[in-house]
C-alpha cells in the first residue's frame, strides 16, 4: 500500500514525458525572458538622458524602478533557462523547425496584417481591408472544405459586407479616418 502510494507520488512528479515537455517550455520561456531583458538593458544602458537627468531631492530617479524590473526579468530568464536546460539533450533542429511550421498560418496572418497597414496610405483602408478579408476568407473557406467557386463567392460577398459595416460604423458614424 505504502509502496503504491510512494509510486503514485513518484509518477505525479516524475512523469518523463510531462517533465520533458515542461522543461522544454521552461527553456523557451527562459529564452523569451532573456531576449526581453536584453532589449530592455540595451535601451536602458544606452540612454544618455538617464545619467544627465535633473533629479530633485531624494528621488531615486527615472531609472530606479526600470532597473529593478529589468533585474527581475533577467534573473527569472536565467532561472528558467537553467531549469529547462535539461531538455536540450536529444533535441533536434529538425523537430524545432517542424513544430515552428505548425504556426505558418498565424505567421502568414500577421504578415498580411502588416502588409495591409503598409498598403493603407497607398490604396486606402477600405480597399486594403477588402483585399485582406477576401484573401483570407477564400483561403479559410477552402480549408473548411468548400469548393473553389463557392469559396470565391463567399469571400467576395462577405468581404463586401464587412467593408460596408466598417465604413458605416467607423468612417461615417464615428468619423475615424484611417487613410
Amino acid at each position: 500500500m505504502i509502496n503504491i502510494k510512494n509510486k503514485k507520488i513518484d509518477t505525479e512528479t516524475l512523469d518523463p514525458a510531462q517533465d520533458k515537455m515542461d522543461s522544454s517550455l521552461d527553456l523557451w520561456a527562459g529564452c523569451f525572458f532573456i531576449i526581453v531583458a536584453a532589449v530592455g538593458w540595451y535601451s536602458h544602458l544606452t540612454n544618455e538622458h538617464l545619467a544627465t537627468a535633473f533629479i530633485m531631492g531624494e528621488d531615486p530617479g527615472p531609472g530606479f524602478l526600470a532597473k529593478i524590473a529589468l533585474w527581475i526579468i533577467t534573473a527569472g530568464g536565467i532561472g528558467y533557462l537553467l531549469k529547462g536546460s535539461g531538455s536540450l539533450r536529444g533535441i533536434r533542429i529538425q523537430s524545432i523547425w517542424q513544430s515552428m511550421l505548425q504556426h505558418k498560418i498565424s505567421v502568414l496572418y500577421v504578415a498580411s496584417i502588416i502588409f495591409l497597414i503598409v498598403l493603407v496610405p497607398v490604396i486606402g483602408f477600405i480597399t486594403s481591408a477588402f483585399l485582406f478579408s477576401s484573401f483570407w476568407l477564400f483561403w479559410l473557406s477552402l480549408e473548411a472544405g468548400l469548393e473553389r467557386k463557392q469559396s470565391a463567392f463567399f469571400a467576395f460577398y462577405t468581404s463586401i459586407t464587412i467593408c460596408i459595416f466598417l465604413y458605416v460604423v467607423f468612417f461615417y458614424l464615428l468619423n475615424i479616418n484611417i487613410n
Binding site: 527569472g76 498565424s106 479559410l140
Partner: protein, 503 residues
C-alpha cells in the same frame, strides 16, 4: 442619500440616445459573448474604440452594456453547443447542455438569463453599499499605501494568473517596463524609446489590450476556424413555469453573494466564483445526484454568481484603482482614456460619475434581460456565423480600434507587436494578463514610490512605520515566497514520511 442620487442620475441618463447605445451595447455583447473563442475581455477590447467619440456618461453605459451582456452571452454557447463562450461559462454547461439536449434549450437559456439579472442586481446593490465604506478607508491612504497597494495588486494578479506565479511576476515586470515607455512624468526624461520619436508618447493601454486579448486570440484560432458542423438545437418553449423559476430563488441569492464577494477580491475572477457557487449548491442540495443531468439549480447558481461578479469586480477598481481581472483592466483603460482615474479620489472629484456607473450598470442589466428574452429564438442564427468570418472581422476591428485612440499608425504597429507577443506567450504557457496589469499599475506604483522616498528623504522605513503599508508589505512578501515555500513544505513532508516508514 445615495438612493436619491442614484435615481436622479438614472432619470438623467434615460435619454433616447443613451437607451439606443445601451441596446446596441447589449446586442453586440450577447452576440460576441455567444461566439466561442470571443471572451468578454476580447469583446470589450474590440468595442472600446466605439466609445471614444461618446460622452463619458454615454461611454460607460455602452461599455457596461457590452460587459454585462457578454457575460450572459458566454452561457448561450455553453448551453446550446456545449462550448463555453467565455471561461466563466464552463460550469454552466454542466447542467445547461444536458437540459438543452433534453429539448429544453429555451428554458435553459431563460433560467440563465433570469439568474444573470438577479445576480447582476444583487452585485450592483453590494457595490453601492460596499464602495463608500472602502472609499472612506482609502481616503486615509497616502503615497506609501498607494505604492504598496499597486505593488500588492500586481503581485496578487500575477499570483492568480493562469500558469506559474513566478512567470506571472516576471511578466508583470515586463508590463512595468511597458508602462515606462515614453517621457518620465517627474524628470521628462525619455525611457525605452530607442532614440526614436515613435514611442515618445508611450504605450497606450488600448493597443496593448486589443493586441493581447484580441489579435493574439485571433492568431490562435485562425488555423482552426471552421464550425460548420455544429448541431444547434431548435428553441421551442422559452419561459419556464413561473413556480419552478421562483423555486430557485435561494440558489440565485446564494450564487449572487458568492459571485459578488469572490469577484470583489482582486484577481479571484468570475471563473473561481462560478466554481465555488456550483460546488456550494451541490453540497447544500438534498439531491446532489441531480447535478450534471440538467437541473435548474446547476444553471441558476453559477450564472447568478457570474453576473454578480461584475458588480463585485468593480469594487476594487472603483475604490482602490486596482483592476480585479482582465475585463476590469480593459474597462479601467477606457476610463483613463476618458480622463477618469479610478480610485478614492474619483468619489470626491466626480461623485456624479460614480452614481452614473451604478445607473449605467442598472440599465445594462435590465436591457440584457429584455433584449436577451427577445433574441432567444434568433440567437441560434448568430451561432451559425462561421468562425473564420469573425476572425477576419475581429482582426480588422483590432486595427481600426488601435488606430482610433490617437489617430496614430504607430499604435496599430504596437497592437500587432503585442498581438504577436501574446500569441508567443500563450504558446509558451506564460500568462499574458500581468502585462496589462503592469502597464496599468506601473505608473501608480512608480509615482507613489518615488514621491514617498522624496518626502521621507530617502528613508524606506516609512513603509514599515505605517501599519497598512506594513500589512501590505508582509502580504506581498508572503505571496512572492509562496511558490518557493510550497515545494519546500512538500519535500519536507515527503522526507518525514520516508524516514517514518524506512527508519
Amino acid at each position: 442619500m445615495p438612493s436619491i442620487e442614484f435615481f436622479s442620475t438614472l432619470v438623467d441618463l434615460v435619454t433616447p440616445f443613451a437607451l439606443l447605445v445601451a441596446a446596441l451595447g447589449v446586442a453586440l455583447g450577447i452576440v460576441l459573448g455567444a461566439l466561442p473563442g470571443v471572451s468578454s475581455t476580447m469583446a470589450l477590447a474590440i468595442l472600446l474604440p466605439v466609445s471614444f467619440t461618446m460622452d463619458q456618461s454615454i461611454a460607460i453605459v455602452f461599455l457596461l452594456a457590452v460587459f454585462v451582456a457578454s457575460v450572459y452571452g458566454g452561457s448561450v454557447s455553453a448551453i446550446l453547443i456545449n462550448i463555453p463562450g467565455t471561461p466563466a461559462a464552463i460550469v454552466t454547461q454542466f447542467d445547461g447542455y444536458p437540459m438543452s439536449r433534453s429539448g429544453r434549450s429555451g428554458e435553459a437559456l431563460a433560467y440563465s438569463l433570469f439568474s444573470s439579472t438577479v445576480g447582476g442586481l444583487l452585485g450592483l446593490a453590494i457595490l453601492v453599499m460596499a464602495a463608500p465604506v472602502l472609499v472612506s478607508v482609502a481616503m486615509e491612504f497616502k503615497s506609501p499605501e498607494f505604492a504598496m497597494i499597486a505593488a500588492f495588486g500586481l503581485v496578487l494578479l500575477a499570483f492568480s494568473s493562469n500558469g506559474s506565479t513566478i512567470k506571472g511576476i516576471i511578466v508583470g515586470a515586463i508590463g512595468l517596463i511597458a508602462g515606462m515607455v515614453g517621457f518620465d512624468m517627474m524628470t521628462d526624461v525619455e525611457r525605452f524609446t530607442f532614440g526614436g520619436s515613435a514611442l515618445q508618447g508611450g504605450i497606450d493601454v488600448v493597443p496593448l489590450t486589443v493586441g493581447l486579448f484580441g489579435l493574439a486570440e485571433v492568431l490562435k484560432n485562425v488555423s482552426n476556424s471552421s464550425n460548420q458542423n455544429l448541431s444547434i438545437p431548435k428553441i421551442t418553449r422559452i419561459l419556464p413555469p413561473l413556480k419552478k423559476l421562483l423555486s430557485t430563488w435561494k440558489s440565485m441569492v446564494r450564487g449572487s453573494f458568492v459571485g459578488a464577494f469572490v469577484g470583489a477580491m482582486p484577481a479571484a475572477g468570475s471563473a473561481v466564483a462560478v466554481a465555488i457557487a456550483y460546488a456550494n449548491e451541490v453540497k447544500l442540495s438534498k439531491q446532489p445526484e441531480k447535478f450534471g443531468t440538467g437541473c435548474e439549480e446547476g444553471i441558476v447558481a453559477p450564472e447568478s454568481a457570474n453576473s454578480a461578479g461584475v458588480g463585485g469586480s468593480l469594487i476594487p477598481m472603483m475604490t482602490l484603482g486596482i483592476p480585479g481581472d482582465t475585463i476590469t483592466a480593459v474597462l479601467m483603460g477606457a476610463l483613463l482614456i476618458h480622463g477618469l482615474r479610478p480610485g478614492p479620489m474619483l468619489f470626491t472629484n466626480n461623485p456624479e460619475f460614480v452614481t452614473g456607473v451604478y445607473a449605467a450598470l442598472f440599465i445594462a442589466l435590465i436591457f440584457t434581460l429584455v433584449i436577451g428574452l427577445l433574441s432567444l429564438r434568433c440567437i441560434t442564427a448568430v451561432m451559425r456565423i462561421p468562425t473564420r468570418v469573425m476572425m477576419v472581422l475581429i482582426a480588422l476591428l483590432c486595427i481600426v480600434g488601435a488606430f482610433s485612440i490617437r489617430n496614430s499608425i504607430v499604435d496599430v504597429y504596437v497592437m500587432v507587436f503585442f498581438g504577436c507577443l501574446g500569441y508567443v506567450m500563450n504558446l509558451l504557457k506564460i500568462p499574458v494578463a500581468p502585462l496589462a496589469f503592469g502597464l496599468i499599475l506601473g505608473p501608480m506604483l512608480e509615482e507613489n514610490l518615488r514621491r514617498t522616498l522624496m518626502i521621507s528623504q530617502g528613508s524606506w522605513e516609512v513603509f514599515i512605520d505605517r501599519p497598512i503599508s506594513l500589512a501590505l508589505l508582509i502580504a506581498i512578501i508572503l505571496f512572492i515566497a509562496a511558490p518557493f515555500i510550497k515545494p519546500l513544505i512538500k519535500s519536507i513532508g515527503s522526507r518525514k514520511l520516508y524516514v517514518k516508514k524506512y527508519p
